[in-house]
Amino acid sequence: MNTRTINVTVNETPQQREVSVSTALRDFLRDDLDLIGAKAACQDGMCGNCTVLVDQRSVKSCLVLAAETHGAEVTTIEGLGDRTALHPLQRAFAENFAAQCGFCTAGMILTSVELLERNPSPTLQEVREGLVGNICRCTAYVSIAEAVLQAAAEMRGETPGAADATTSAGGER
């Protein structure tokens, strides 16, 4: 088996590990580090359930090789917030009933972290478009959009409020 030694910082902990050159980051995180927050719902980058942050950018970890993260900083859902304080997005997801089965939740939250990093004041439509690569089968996405908008407001220092509900029922095929 063709392997490589990588140095990668995962959730602020430096790791030195030997990985197969063909191992996906997702499987490295899940199998080698027991960071099971990244979920596997497909093989081909189509669901977003495996999303993690690599150097602050959201990536589908099934499409990235573990070996490619040599020298990088990886953040998984386990690295967001801490035991005493949830990240505002985590709290907003919980408060808005945005996690039903919860299988898509980590990917949704981590994609939203990057989204809000780039655009702290997204409109509803920008949230919807920003999360289009993350599939959820349970929620119809409404509660998720509400959660992201609430977290955005809170992170901007505004009082958390209900989602802007002016645009409605405007889905496009």
């Binding site: 997801f93 959820c136 889905g171």
Partner: protein, 811 residues
């Protein structure tokens, strides 16, 4: 986290029809409020462990060998090369299982055609062998090394063709199966000749419904571990019904049920596809016993499409009605396509016919349903099982009829829908209705979209569609399962906190939270002092699990009963301590007090500790011990298959729903844009409004997929064509319209059939989107599409054909 006290902050409006029976339930408790979902924190921190997140030391990987052909006899299967691959631990075929005394046959299946491993291929993807190896990659490699020789047989993919005399027979020598017919069900009530004779109009149409796949984000997964020393087999599975799986596995491997433990970890969506045993679960257990190592078998996304899907149907309908819109007769021949194995194919016939009349008054019903095997992926239960097809066909017919007689389609429904003053009633097909606020749902949904106004001012290519339905809250469905039960044990600890054990299997709906609310109210304790344990056969009592919109109603009621039992025990002791009568006691705010004298009270915790540790404080003769209340609940329902007319009261109560879609169709592309949408539902009493909303919306998105494009497609040779998220597209964030609270209205009823007055809510949202959107598209383009799904290509074709027929350009 804040509790949303007022449900109308969750929905656009919550109107209530009818009053609860006096003393039916308390209204100052947690039930009725949006208590935050109890498992939220585990889910948002990523700590929640789903089946394949559980690491077992020494875990090895199983994989299933699947048939390459739609229909073939296996003439030889050589596993020697696979077995010789280093790291491969075991390889088995159907013959190997039988040779070692494994019962390679599903128990308690209406038709004995289900095997863990088949010795004949009935569809592309049928399981014909299995391997287990040290790694997933090695298991995959081993599959490639198994040499199979097939005698390819003619196959049939269309259920109607499968009924022909010259069709290839898919299952031979299976008791109860005649040719490709795995079963029939007939409903015949009222005088159809009279209905036809009195009709001003009789409309005939043929419909086809799609083979949708539930597509939970977590695919089917199982892990099994066998301990030689204790003789105990443990199975972790992403399942909805642990006791059913436990019994099936025990029967397969020949262990007593008591030696098999099935645990449901967190489940990433089930939607019906995860009921009952599947080959991967049985084979994980068998391998674990054969090789003495823990074994995982996880379905790939592709394999999901070989594992389960919705029944397809071909429906020929005749609808008889009067010019004034009065519905008279519904006559239908339904050919169901269950695919290559029976699974729930028989139950489908009974249930879909039971729901076909919908929430309307009729004078005659005549339905003949037949299920015919085809060489395709087998059917499974799937969210609203049988109703999406039934409602799509019925509501499409009603919209076509309204147009034909020149009546507004909404008015036609209002005219025929069951009215408040008819209740309580027994419908023509035997459903006993105590509450059904369908008239209110119709009005509320119309109000959301300003129905009258929008009908009068429609630009070209805009259409409006209405659909209504009636749906069950759990159901009794086939003679092999003449039960509709759930169970709960409530145990009070000595500090007054509670543990609740139930067979219900939450896969995201939030039952854990609802049951905690019910127990907290019954025992007057804070909701965060109630912990709910679910779906682990070593811990929870026997029940039928979670499916069919049942758990809030079924296990909700067994939970209420078990908690009431505990309350009775507490009152017995408190009455002694307070020197009061049991009948005068109240339980609130962690205290038991005497009604009218709030100063005379004892803390729940003091009663609890006394019952555990202080015999001297208890009534004379009472022993110290545990505080455990145990209850089951089985509904007072009937089996239509036992009735000569094929009818019966299948569900404890019934929900009502109306959806109205306003869509614009792009005549150039066939794309649909939903410009407005209103939904209104009677799902009984709202136990937790925010959770109910999540279910209704989630159902809508599933229904949108059913309407717009989800359909398993097959090549001529029976190979599946769309088995990943690129080929089989499910609605994304921007596909699903963003619903505001205003667009969702709830009509609350207090159904007296169960003590909390609730109905189910997990499925009904899926039922109306397809017919509402289909009717809106038909209204926009002037012609109804009667084959699902309504892809842009089909819409475009319909526009062009209509234009050609009219001799005009399309747009």
């Amino acid at each position: 986290m804040s509790i949303i006290e007022n449900p109308s902050t969750t929905f656009g409006a919550v109107r209530t029809v009818g009053e609860p029976t006096a003393g039916m339930f308390r209204t100052d408790g947690y039930v009725g409020t949006s208590v935050p979902k109890k498992d939220s924190r585990e889910l948002v921190t990523g700590k929640a462990r789903f089946t394949s997140d559980i690491k077992l030391p020494g875990l090895v990987w199983g994989r299933l060998l699947r048939s390459q052909h739609a229909h073939a006899r296996i003439t030889s299967i050589d596993t020697s090369k696979a077995k010789a691959l280093p790291g491969v631990l075991d390889v088995v075929t159907a013959a190997d299982l039988v040779a070692t005394g494994i019962k390679n046959q599903y128990q308690w299946n209406a038709i004995p055609d289900m095997h863990l491993i088949c010795d004949k291929a009935h569809f592309v993807g049928d399981v014909i062998g299995a391997v287990v190896a040290e790694t997933e990659q090695l298991a995959d490699d081993a599959l490639q090394l198994i040499e199979v020789e097939y005698e390819v047989l003619p196959h049939v993919l269309d259920a109607e063709e499968a009924l022909r005399d010259d069709a290839p027979v898919i299952h031979e020598n299976v008791p109860g199966v005649d040719g490709n017919v795995l079963g029939r069900h007939r409903v015949k009530v009222g005088d159809m000749d009279k209905a036809m004779a009195e009709a001003d109009v009789v409309i005939k149409r043929r419909f086809r419904t799609a083979k949708q796949q539930a597509t939970p984000m977590e695919s089917h997964q199982a892990q099994a571990q066998f301990d030689d020393d204790s003789g105990r087999l443990t199975v972790w599975s992403s399942t909805q019904y642990v006791h059913g799986l436990q019994a099936q596995i025990a029967a397969a491997v020949g262990l007593p049920i008591s030696q098999v433990r099935v645990i449901k970890p967190f489940v990433g969506g089930g939607f019906g596809h995860k009921i009952g045993m599947h080959s991967h679960e049985g084979m994980a257990a068998i391998f674990a016993m054969r090789i003495g190592r823990p074994v995982r078998i996880a379905m790939s996304r592709e394999e999901e499409y070989f594992t389960a899907s919705r029944n397809g149907t071909i429906c020929d309908v005749e609808l008889a009605l009067k010019k004034d819109g009065t519905l008279l007769g519904w006559k239908e021949r339904i050919i169901a396509d269950p695919g290559g194995h029976s699974n729930y194919g028989m139950a489908f016939l009974v249930l879909t016919t039971s729901l076909r009349p919908g929430p309307y008054n009729w004078q005659a019903l005549d339905m003949e349903a037949v299920a015919a095997y085809t060489n395709k992926c087998p059917n499974s239960a799937f969210r609203a099982f049988g109703n999406p097809q039934a409602t799509y066909v019925r509501e499409s017919m009603l919209s076509i009829a309204a147009k034909e007689i020149g009546m507004d389609p909404w008015e036609l429904r209002v005219k025929n829908a069951i009215r408040q003053e008819q209740l309580p009633m027994t419908t023509m097909n035997g459903l006993k209705l105590e509450t059904l606020a369908i008239q209110d749902c119709l009005r509320e949904a119309a109000d959301v979209v300003n129905y009258k106004e929008i009908q009068q001012n429609k630009p070209k290519w805009r259409g409006v569609g209405v659909a209504s339905t009636l749906h069950w809250s759990s159901c009794r469905w086939d003679s092999d399962l003449d039960a509709d039960s759930g169970a709960t044990i409530v145990q009070m600890m000595m500090d007054g906190s509670c543990k609740v054990f139930t067979d219900a299997a939450d896969s995201g709906q939030g039952h854990t939270t609802i049951f905690a609310q019910i127990v907290a109210d019954e025992l007057g304790i804070p909701v965060d002092r109630v912990d709910v344990i679910m779906a682990d056969t070593d811990k929870v009592p026997f029940g039928l699990g979670t499916w069919g919109s049942r758990s809030a109603v079924i296990q909700g009621t067994s939970t209420k009963r078990a908690a009431a039992n505990v309350r009775g025990q507490l009152f017995n002791v408190a009455a002694h301590m307070l020197e009061a009568s049991v009948d005068d006691l109240l339980i609130r705010d962690s205290k038991i007090s005497v009604a009218g004298s709030p100063d005379r009270f004892v803390n729940v915790a003091d009663v609890a500790i006394a019952m555990h540790l202080s015999k001297s404080k208890l009534p004379p003769g009472m022993e110290a011990g545990n505080i455990v209340g145990s209850a089951t609940y089985d509904t007072p329902t009937e089996l239509p298959s036992d009735h000569p007319d094929g009818i019966g009261h299948i569900s404890v109560n019934y929900q009502a729903s109306t959806h109205i879609a306003v869509v614009d169709v792009d005549p150039e592309t066939g794309d649909i844009d939903i410009v407005d949408y209103g939904m209104s539902d009677d799902v009984g009493r709202l136990l937790n409004p925010a959770l109910v909303k999540g279910q209704l919306l989630g159902g809508f998105a599933h229904g949108l997929g059913f309407a717009w494009g989800e359909d398993e497609e097959f090549g001529e040779d029976g190979s599946p064509l769309n088995f990943d998220f690129t080929g089989y597209q499910i609605p994304t964030f921007t596909d699903v319209p963003y619903f505001t609270n205003d667009q969702m209205r709830v009509v609350q009823t207090y159904d007296p059939a169960v003590p909390d007055g609730q109905k189910g809510a997990g499925e009904v949202g899926l039922v109306c989107p397809a017919p509402a959107i289909a009717a809106a598209v038909a209204d926009a383009i002037g012609v109804a599409i009667t084959e699902m799904p309504m892809t842009p290509a089909k819409i475009l074709k319909a526009i062009r054909e209509r234009a050609a027929a009219a001799g005009a350009p399309a747009a």
